[in-house]
Amino acid sequence: MKRAARYIIFYSALLALWVILAKLKIWPPYLFPTPWGVAESLYAGFQDHTYLIAIAVSLQRVLLGYAISVVLGMVLGLGISSSKFLEETMGGLLVSLQSLPSICWWPLALLWFGLNQNAILFVVIMGSLLSVTLAMEDGRKQMPKIYSQAGRNLGARGFKMFWYVLLPASLPFIVSGLKQGWAFAWRSLITAEMLYLSLGLGQVLMMGRDLNDMSAVIAVMLLIIAIGYIIDGVVFKAMERHLQNKWGLAPAN
C-alpha cells in the first residue's frame, strides 16, 4: 500500500511538472503538448488502428530478430568459451564491437540486403547478438564445472549435454545478458524503423515529426517505453522468479 502511495505521489508530481511547463508556453503548444493532448493522440492512434498495426509489426520484427540472436548467440558463446584460442581472439573482438551502436551497420545492411525488412532484421541482430554471446560465454565460465562433469558421467553427450545440462545450468548466469540483449534489440529496431518506411513504431514516430505533431511523437515514445517495460517486467521477471524458485537463489539485484 505504501509503495502504491509512493508511486502515485511521484507520478502525479511528474505530470504536474509537465502541465506547468506546458502552461508556461515556453514553446508553442504544438511543440510542447499537454498530457491530455498526448492522451488524445494515443486514443486517436488506437482508434484508427495505426498504433495496433505498428505495434504488431514492430513486435513481430523484434521477436524474430531477438530469437535469431539468442540461438546464434548461445551457440557462439558456447563455442567461444570452449576454446581457449577463440576466447582470447574472438572474445576481445566481441567486447570491442559491443561499443559500436548497431545502427552503424545500417548503410551496409541496406547495400547487402536492400531497402527492406531484412536490413532492419540485420540491425536488430547486430544489436543484441553480442550481448547474448558474451553473456553465454561468461555464463558457461561461471557455471560450476560439477554440472557438466555430473552430466557427462550420467551419459549426457552432444546436443543432450547442451540442452539438458549446459543450457539450464548456465541460465541463471545468462539471464541478465539475455535481458540486456532484449533491450538492445528493441532499441536497434526502433532506430532502424525510424530510418525507413516500415509501418513499425519507429516510422509512426517519424510520421509525427513530419506532421509537426509532437503529441503523436510523445504518444509513440510512451508506447515504445511501455512495450519495452512490459516485456522486461513480465517475461524476464517471470523467468527470474522461476529460476529463483528452482535454484533457491536470493532475488537478484
Binding site: 581457449k84 564445472k145 560439477i146 554440472y147 557438466s148 562433469q149 555430473a150 557427462r152 558421467n153 550420467l154 551419459g155 549426457a156 553427450r157 543432450k160 539438458y164 545440462v165 539450464p168 545450468a169 541460465l171 529460476l243 524458485n245 528452482k246 535454484w247 533457491g248
Partner: protein, 312 residues
C-alpha cells in the same frame, strides 16, 4: 620441496612393506599380496597409473605415481590419504572424467576411455542439478540412456524409496538438507544401474548424526544391490567402518602406501571398539603422510592445475 619429482621404476614398491600382524581382525598386507588373492578377474583394475599436473609456475608436478589397485566385483574399497594425495583425482580417472598421463584404468578388463554409466561418481558437494526436481534428478541418467518414460518413473520411485525420499520427489534440491541431498545423489547414481559406485568424500560436509545414518544406509544399499564401491575419504574411522579394505595413499605424489583388509563383522558402527582399534592402526601409518602434507601446505602455496586437454 614437494614439487621435485623422483623418477620411479614401474612395479617397484616405493615403500618399505612392514609385514607385521596388527589389530584384532585387521591385518595389513603388502601391496602385492592383495592382488595375488584375486583369482577371478578384477572389476576395476588400475595399472601403473601416473598423473602429472602443471603448476602455476609452469613446472610439472607428479600427483599420482604408479598406482596399482585391483578391486573385486562387489567389494567395498575405501581410499584414505591426506589432502593433496590425489585420491579424488583417482576417482575422476576411474570415472573417465580425466585421463591418466600414463597407465591404464580397466573395468571388466576393458580400458576406460571416457565417462560411462557403468561407473557413476558421487561428488562431495553432490553435483545434483538445481533446475530439476528430486525425481527428475534421479531420472536424468535413464533419460540420457533413452529409457521409456513409464519405466523411468517406476524406477525413480523405487530408488527414491530405497533412500527413503519418496515423499520429496517434487522438491527442488535447495529445499533439502545436506544429508537428503546426498541420498538423492546416491539414488541418482544407482538409477543408472552402474556396476561401480565412486564416492568422493560424499559425507564430509555432513554433521555427525546424519553421517552415521548415511553409513548405515549405504551399507544396507551396498549389501542389497551388490555394487562395487570405491569410497574416498580422509576420515580413517569412516573408511574402516565401511570398507572391506582400506587403501592408504601417500602425500604428493600419491602412491599406494599400504592396504588393510578389514574383516570385522557387519553391520558395523563408527563407535565399535574394534573399528576404533583398527582405525588406529591405519592412522599410525597415515600420520607421517598428514604431517608431510601439512609441512608442504605451510611452506609453499602450490596450486596444481589440470593441464588443458585433460578432462573437461
Amino acid at each position: 620441496m614437494s614439487a621435485r619429482i623422483e623418477p620411479v621404476r614401474p612395479g617397484v614398491p616405493h615403500f618399505s612393506p612392514h609385514l607385521r600382524e596388527v589389530g584384532i581382525s585387521t591385518h595389513k598386507t603388502q601391496r602385492g599380496a592383495a592382488i595375488l588373492e584375486l583369482r577371478e578377474s578384477p572389476k576395476v583394475s588400475l595399472g601403473e597409473i601416473c598423473l602429472s599436473y602443471r603448476t602455476q609456475s609452469g613446472e610439472r608436478l607428479l600427483a599420482l605415481d604408479h598406482i596399482n589397485l585391483q578391486v573385486r566385483a562387489g567389494e567395498f574399497v575405501c581410499i584414505v590419504g591426506p589432502s593433496g594425495c590425489g585420491k579424488s583425482t583417482l576417482l575422476h580417472l576411474i570415472a573417465g572424467l580425466h585421463s591418466p598421463t600414463s597407465g591404464q584404468v580397466r573395468v571388466d578388463g576393458r580400458p576406460v576411455d571416457g565417462p560411462g554409466t557403468d561407473r557413476i561418481l558421487i561428488f562431495q558437494d553432490h553435483g545434483l542439478f538445481p533446475w530439476l526436481t528430486v525425481a527428475e534428478n534421479v531420472e536424468f541418467g535413464m533419460k540420457m540412456k533413452g529409457l521409456p518414460k513409464a519405466e523411468r518413473q517406476e524406477k525413480t520411485r523405487d530408488y527414491l524409496r530405497l533412500v527413503h525420499l519418496a515423499k520429496f520427489e517434487k522438491s527442488y534440491i535447495h529445499q533439502l538438507s545436506g544429508g537428503m541431498r546426498q541420498r538423492v545423489a546416491i539414488a541418482r547414481a544407482l538409477a543408472t544401474e552402474p556396476d561401480v559406485l565412486l564416492m568422493d568424500e560424499p559425507f564430509a560436509a555432513l554433521d555427525a548424526q546424519t553421517r552415521d545414518l548415511l553409513h548405515d544406509e549405504l551399507e544396507r544399499i551396498w549389501s542389497d544391490t551388490g555394487r562395487t564401491i570405491i569410497f574416498v575419504t580422509h576420515n580413517v574411522r569412516e573408511a574402516v567402518r565401511l570398507g572391506d579394505r582400506v587403501v592408504l595413499l601417500t602425500f604428493r605424489p600419491g602412491r599406494v602406501k599400504s592396504e588393510f583388509p578389514v574383516s570385522l563383522p557387519r553391520p558395523r558402527s563408527l563407535e565399535d571398539p574394534e573399528v576404533a582399534l583398527a582405525a588406529r592402526e591405519v592412522l599410525d601409518e597415515l600420520r607421517d603422510e598428514i604431517n608431510r602434507s601439512l609441512e608442504a601446505e605451510y611452506q609453499d602455496g602450490i596450486k596444481p592445475r589440470i593441464e588443458p586437454g585433460v578432462g573437461a
